[in-house]
């Protein structure tokens, strides 16, 4: 089975404190630690486990710029056979629909049985996978937390629905699935693994290679635009406890007792 996994490079928010730039229209990106969007690792791992069972290859693709090649190499170090960078000045400022259109153009160049994405991006809203599927007229399922390959170009999948229940369906190939975190345990990638793929060529495709009309992507085509960032309203916010750890511990223990915790 030929599997394409769409990945994205994002700031790692578990490691970063987000600060605004002086204009307030973007976050300070210079100091941020970037990495692959964590859910995408689950999608790549799932693709690798499927091809290990039934054969085939995994290709990882991202839309971005030069800096984004590092996330492709990381996923190649996990075991993806190919990495492809979709980069062009004309792509900058693309909204989710344009990103999906760029990916659709790339999909036209090859033949993939299955397209995976992570469940959502740290800085996104679970948009591109479902849009891409509709553009391709492929079936789509979101929040997928198990995949079994059946005979006759079909998969048996489950989706995570309310309360941790699993909604089980059969889906025809080719299809697009967004992969929920926790579906597997993504393998560890060390520096050695990344070095091993350092010299594997990663082709770059732009508007011409993808036969895209530059007016249909990028900032000019974007119908969704971020205007600015701001800090969410704090509500009342927590009463922050200060002092020595000993004082804080005593206070917390008293609070637990006062709120009916200690019996």
């Amino acid at each position: 089975m030929e599997i394409l996994v769409c990945v994205k490079r994002v700031p790692d928010t578990s490691e970063n404190e987000i600060e605004f730039n002086p204009e307030g229209n973007d976050i300070e990106r210079d100091e941020l630690v970037y990495g692959v969007n964590e859910p995408d690792n689950y999608a790549v791992e799932e693709a690798l486990q499927i091809t290990a069972r039934v054969g085939g290859q995994v290709t990882v693709v991202t839309v971005g710029g030069e800096d984004d090649e590092e996330v492709l190499r990381r996923e190649m170090a996990m075991g993806a056979s190919h990495g492809v960078l979709l980069a062009d000045d004309a792509f900058s400022g693309s909204d989710a629909r344009s990103i999906a259109a760029i990916l659709q153009a790339f999909l036209r160049k090859g033949k993939y049985d299955l397209v995976l994405t992570g469940v959502q991006a740290e800085d996104g809203g679970a948009q591109v996978g479902g849009m891409l599927a509709a553009m391709l007229d492929y079936p789509f399922a979101s929040l997928v937390n198990s995949i079994e390959v059946l005979d006759g170009r079909k998969l048996r999948i489950s989706r995570e629905v309310e309360g941790g229940n699993r909604e089980v369906s059969e889906i025809d190939l080719p299809c697009v699935l967004s992969i929920q975190t926790g579906i597997n345990e993504p393998r560890y990638v060390g520096m050695r693994g990344i070095r091993a793929v350092a010299s594997v060529p990663v082709p770059t495709y732009g508007v011409t290679d993808l036969a895209l009309d530059p007016n249909t992507v990028g900032e000019t085509a974007a119908k969704v635009k971020r205007l600015d960032y701001f800090l969410p309203a704090l509500g009342n916010g927590a009463e922050m406890l200060h002092g020595s750890r000993e004082e804080i511990v005593a206070r917390v223990a008293d609070l637990i007792a006062a709120k009916g915790g200690l019996r």
Partner: protein, 327 residues
């Protein structure tokens, strides 16, 4: 102004809480609009859902088809595309069904798409200004959507407070004849209900809840020690389950369990809305996190910026001490 529709989910004829929230969201797009509810399904359950919606929506479009008895997003999408007028604004809840339905619907309608909205600030011409969150809720963003060819918008559950509305005495309009022939590349088989697990976290008075900040599986014992001292149970947020450090049955949140403890110790939990959605009954939340900007501090009663791996063992000792004194 384009016509506004709210797609309402229901379970066995009981309409989802989002029905009132979507009405409130529609009101923020256009206070003068009378939004239309759309419901899909079949049989008596669908009729019952339609009847309930007439209390708050002036018009309820009923799309009945045997193939829609179980909500399959691909079939619902095709039915909606066949009945919606061009340029419509369609609202849906940002939960598992809306996430499945909305992106593809926006493509097939040729409409703009914005997801997981927390607020709608209103229209300027054909531009709609909305609020989204990014980076795990650490920052909000104003986003502008050009809705000149319609819009599909998903609304974060709980973000829009239901309006106090006068009874609508709505009319049901049966549009079933227009849904067309529905087939899908995905076919529903069954729903497997989640297991309860060894400890029922929904019945606990105190929860010591751990998140990514617990760092590794071996550290779970630190939280368990505190829980033992308190006579509490250990629960967790999603990353802990994803890493297989605790069973799924211990997860608090929209994709886990809804809990209603008196005291909730959120230890190394950032406070993503999916997690907070599982916290019911207004518990006293004590949040411990190394990151002073963690969103959990916005909702907690008391906050401590510290390393939980050092703080929790001291708290455990303190609780033991207090118990000794009390005895």
């Amino acid at each position: 102004m384009a016509r506004i529709f709210a797609y309402i989910t229901h379970r066995a004829g009981i309409i989802d809480d989002s029905a009132a929230e979507l009405l409130s969201a529609a009101n923020k797009i256009d206070p003068a609009a009378a939004p239309t509810a759309i419901v899909t399904g079949s049989g008596a359950e669908l009729d019952s859902a339609c009847a309930s919606l007439c209390a708050s929506y002036a018009e309820v479009w009923k799309l009945s088809d045997e193939s829609l008895a179980y909500p399959n997003a691909e079939l619902v999408r095709k039915a909606l595309v066949n009945v919606l007028p061009p340029g419509s604004i369609v609202l849906a809840a940002h939960e598992h069904f809306g996430i499945d339905l909305a992106p593809g619907l926006s493509i097939k309608l040729g409409a703009v798409f914005a997801s997981d909205l927390l607020e709608i600030e209103g229209m300027e011409g054909l531009l709609l200004k909305v609020v989204r969150q990014e980076f795990g809720g650490q920052v909000s963003a104003h986003v502008q959507c050009d809705i000149s060819s319609g819009a599909v918008l998903t609304i974060r559950p709980g973000a829009f407070k239901a309006l106090a509305i006068s009874p609508a005495n709505g009319q049901v309009v049966d549009r079933s004849a227009d849904v067309g022939t529905l087939t899908a590349g995905r076919r529903y088989l069954e729903t497997v209900v989640a297991e309860t697990g060894d400890i029922d976290i929904t019945k606990q008075n105190i929860l010591v809840s751990i998140g990514r900040g617990i760092q590794e599986k071996d550290n779970v014992g630190i939280a368990q020690d505190l829980a033992d001292a308190l006579g509490a149970a250990v629960s967790c947020s999603r990353p802990v389950v994803d890493a297989k450090w605790l069973e799924k049955s211990r997860q608090v949140g929209s994709s886990g369990k809804a809990v209603k403890p008196k005291v909730y110790l959120a230890c190394g939990i950032s406070g993503a809305f999916q997690h907070l959605a599982g916290l019911k009954g207004n518990p006293f939340i004590i949040a411990i996190n190394k990151n002073p900007k963690a969103p959990i501090f916005q909702v907690a009663s008391v906050g401590i910026v510290d390393d939980l791996l050092e703080l929790l063992p001291e708290l455990t000792n303190k609780i033991h001490e207090m118990r000794k004194v009390a005895a």
